[in-house]
């Protein structure tokens, strides 16, 4: 059993907390992008027009069947070769994680919309409500509330995925942990504390999710 030096880690604890802030920012930005853009892709998937449905399907399959690490590196190192513009690391990370989230959220949105019976559309239309009004007042609230467990699962998954952004030098929690541990030769202590920080942030989300799920099925 090695001699543990948690004191070294906690002496610079504020550094890790600030880094956790960057992690949270990355997570919030990427999840917002994914949830919102997911609606566009979801509608593409549902469209009877193949020019919309096929690209939407292709987008979803690409992002769900390649590792998120590869996607991230592709957006940071490969995309600039293609378009000639080097993105800042944080931007590339938001883009890659955001589009990855888009693909998953699109499928959740789509399932949510499908779960609302066609009769709900008809009842709204029969009352003279326009398409948009039926969507926002009748369909969306039911679809979203049914999908809350799926959204929280996705949010938890994405919170964990933010750690891959360290490989393109986004100064988030994992990046700073690796830096700190190699400078101070305390990997065991550093990564134990960092795992603790991730856990403390993510666990409440999982907990809230299962609470909501239990209340809904009760």
């Amino acid at each position: 059993m090695p001699e543990l030096q948690f004191g070294v880690v906690f002496a610079d604890f504020d550094l890790l907390i600030r880094a956790a802030g960057t992690t949270a920012l990355l997570w919030a930005a990427a999840f917002s992008v994914g949830w919102s853009a997911g609606w566009i892709v979801a509608f593409g998937r549902r469209s009877p027009r193949l020019v919309l449905a096929i690209p939407a399907r292709g987008f979803v399959e690409c992002f769900r069947n390649t590792p998120v690490l590869v996607q991230l590196i592709w957006f940071y190192y490969a995309l600039p070769v293609l378009i000639g513009i080097q993105m800042p690391a944080f931007g590339a990370a938001v883009l890659a994680l955001g589009l990855n989230g888009t693909a998953y959220c699109a499928e959740i949105h789509r399932n949510g919309l499908q779960s609302v019976a066609i009769g709900q559309w008809e009842a709204g239309r029969a009352l003279g409500m326009g398409r948009l009004r039926v969507f926002f007042r009748i369909i969306l609230p039911q679809a979203v509330s049914r999908m809350i467990p799926a959204y929280t699962n996705r949010a938890v998954e994405m919170a964990k995925n933010t750690s891959v952004a360290s490989v393109i030098s986004v100064h988030e929690l994992m990046y700073n942990a690796r830096l700190f541990s190699s400078q101070n030769y305390v990997p065991l202590e550093t990564f134990t504390v960092v795992a603790g920080i991730y856990f403390v942030v993510i666990w409440p989300i999982s907990l809230a999710s299962s609470l909501i799920e239990r209340r809904r099925s009760a």
């Binding site: 019976a117 009769g119 709900q120 029969a126 009352l127 003279g128 398409r131 007042r137």
Partner: protein
Amino acid sequence: MTSPEPVVLSATAITKRFGTVDVLKGVDLTVRKGERIAILGSSGSGKSTLLRCLNLLERPTGGTIALDGRTIGRPDGKGCQRYDERELDRVRTRVGMVFQQFNLFPHMRVIENVMEAPRGVLGKSKAEAQAIAERQLAAVGLAEKATAWPAQLSGGQQQRVAIARALAMDPEVLLLDEPTSSLDPELVGEVLAAIRALSDEGRTMLIVTHELGFAFHFATRVLFLHDGKVLEEGPPEQVLKAPREERTRRFIERFTERRF
């Protein structure tokens, strides 16, 4: 009737084709103010499709619908009608519909279900919409359920809320598609009573029903649909008691036997 009431809704040569199947094969129908028309016919004869064409939830393949003497849509030059979404929304505020499956909005309380369209579509104030909703719920005997959720109600109660919801728009015509067919037998009576109460206020209604006894006393006219066409129509005494057509007679026998 001495002087005929004005025509509220009319259908001319309505056809509807789904893929390669002709479901409606030319239906003509004139609905005068205050009429109560019962539509009978076996399953698959096109009753629901006809009702859904009348409020343009389903766009007819051919033929025209007119509301208050105004033809809906305009000819596209190839013998069909072109419809404008906004115009259809306006039409549907005037033609109410009650579905077999109630289709209440489960995420809204009972009174919110009834207030939704008067507020959102007719632009009534919250207070006005609430007053309308309370009146309509009281009319179907559900004033005390205003703050309940649809899932807390029995099927019969849900259907009565659906009737109140449709009437809150004060439609000129109310279409009811088998409003009691998905109810347990002991709940059918309360819904039929609520519908019967509407005839006292002279509400114009078209009802698809298999309750022949109800149709006999309730309807001013009965229409028998067979294979996408109106096979026979007339006063209930004639169509139900002395049908001219063999098919109508067989249909009535089948449904009367089922009562025992």
